[in-house]
């Protein structure tokens, strides 16, 4: 009877462990920059939620991966398709990753393959192969070369232009 109880308790632990041991949550916010003049008459650029957005507006996405579990999360990769009706702004992808190494790569083929900008090529209809431009990127991907400890979080960010 005692042994049986022990076994079932073990089983419970095994089943439950993926749920609470390492759970990353992801938040995604969209902001725009507005210029305001402060009391000293200086222009300050403020970020506000991206609610008032018209074509030509630059939108800043910030994605936060938060480790709410009690074990570290490894091999963390955040992928983000460039939203429909927007184009990626070259050089805007960044990571707050605590000074540690993040590999930022892009896709020009709908997310099938990822590479750094110097290696991204596109074949035009006439067969010529050229370097892809930033507005042709379909996906952005951040791969972290470190584990996110329990209770820690990383922010990644990129900007797009609304067509």
């Amino acid at each position: 009877m005692l042994k049986l109880l022990k076994n079932s308790l073990l089983a419970l632990v095994v089943i439950a462990s993926p749920v609470w041991a390492g759970s990353l949550t992801l938040s995604n916010i969209a902001e725009i920059e507005v210029t305001e003049v402060n009391d000293q008459g200086e222009e300050i650029v403020k970020r506000v939620p991206a609610d008032l957005v018209v074509p030509g507006t630059e939108v800043i996405y910030t994605i936060t991966a938060n480790n709410e579990g009690d074990m570290e999360a490894a091999n963390v990769v955040i992928a983000n398709p460039v939203p429909e009706h927007t184009v990626y702004i070259g050089g805007s992808a960044s990571s707050s990753a605590m000074g540690k190494s993040t590999r930022i790569v892009f896709s020009v083929d709908g997310g099938s393959t990822f590479d750094v900008p110097e290696n991204l090529e596109i074949m035009d209809e006439d067969g010529t192969v050229r370097l892809a431009s930033a507005e042709e990127y379909t996906h952005v991907q951040w791969a972290f070369d470190f584990a996110i400890p329990p209770g820690a979080k990383v922010d990644v960010s990129f900007r797009v232009l609304l067509k």
Binding site: L52, G56, Y61, A74, M123, E125
Partner: protein, 366 residues
Amino acid sequence: MSFKLNKNLARWVAAGFFATAGQMAFAASTETPADTDITNTATVSYSVSGVAQPDETGTRVFKVDNKVDLTVTGGTTNVVANATDQVITFTVTNTGNETQGYALDIEANGGDDFDANNVRIYVEDGTTPGFQIGEDTLYTAGSGVNIGDLDPFSGTGGDAINVYVVSDIPTSGGGTAPTDGQTAEYNLLATTLVAGSTTVQGQTAGADTFNAVDVVFADETGGSAGPHSSDAVEDGQASATGTYLVASAQLSVTKTSAVISDPVNGATNPKAIPGATVRYTITVSNAGGASASATGVTLVDSIPTNTTYTANTITLDAAAQTDIDDSGVPVDNSDFNVTNAGAVTVVIGTVAAGASNVVTFDVTID
């Protein structure tokens, strides 16, 4: 550099091709329509203790707002005094991301030289491109009436419409008769209306309404307002100046004569005695400062009394002309005593600004 050829390439290339073809076929706006949801979804993959965990996603949606933007362009029309129904063509274009209506108003620009009479506005009705007075729609300036909705995404020219300002140029002889190079200028103002209505389009005041379509005036952003006195930047209005430029020819005619021979002295120091041959030289000039070519120029010169025309002596710019009326025959449209009795007639045609044409003919003194 390495190029990864994969099955997605074909799809990518094909998609690129169709996008190009689409741009060639349509001039429609490529802006994102108002009320479009922009959805961003990030996905994170990770592992814990070497075990891959289910992907997590984070999604953010916002709505594209209504960017009210428009342009008005105006042209210049060359006119002459006393001309009626002279047309300046303006174009109103919806460059925003939502279908809108438009109302029109017009004012005389302060910096010009004269005013035209009977200034009217017509809106292209689409039956026949270009202005037709009996066909296009007369519009009452300042009435607030919607000239018709313009859809920036229609792609078939439906995003723009021609507006014609039609006026009469003052008559010469009046106190306001315009002279060469003077202008009459008119500022056409287009005001954005809510589509399908005569309600002036307003802008969303205060904070944005989340997940609703707000309105932002984006006309003349970062530039200067148009010329109309009611136009300001980012006000849902745009304006342009159209110009009537008085452009006329300034023709002058000079006539000289020289005795080229007489029956006694021949060609050496000939005198104007009976039987002497006299050559008339007539120069028709359009002044270099004229702003238009003279067209349909015809010179008629009666043979002086007591002289007799010498047959086959008409020249135009040193080219011999015939005496018969051969209008319709290329080059030679001169005659003597046919088009006009007892006179030399030379059809010169067009005299450009700064150009001259020279006609000569000979007579003998009776």
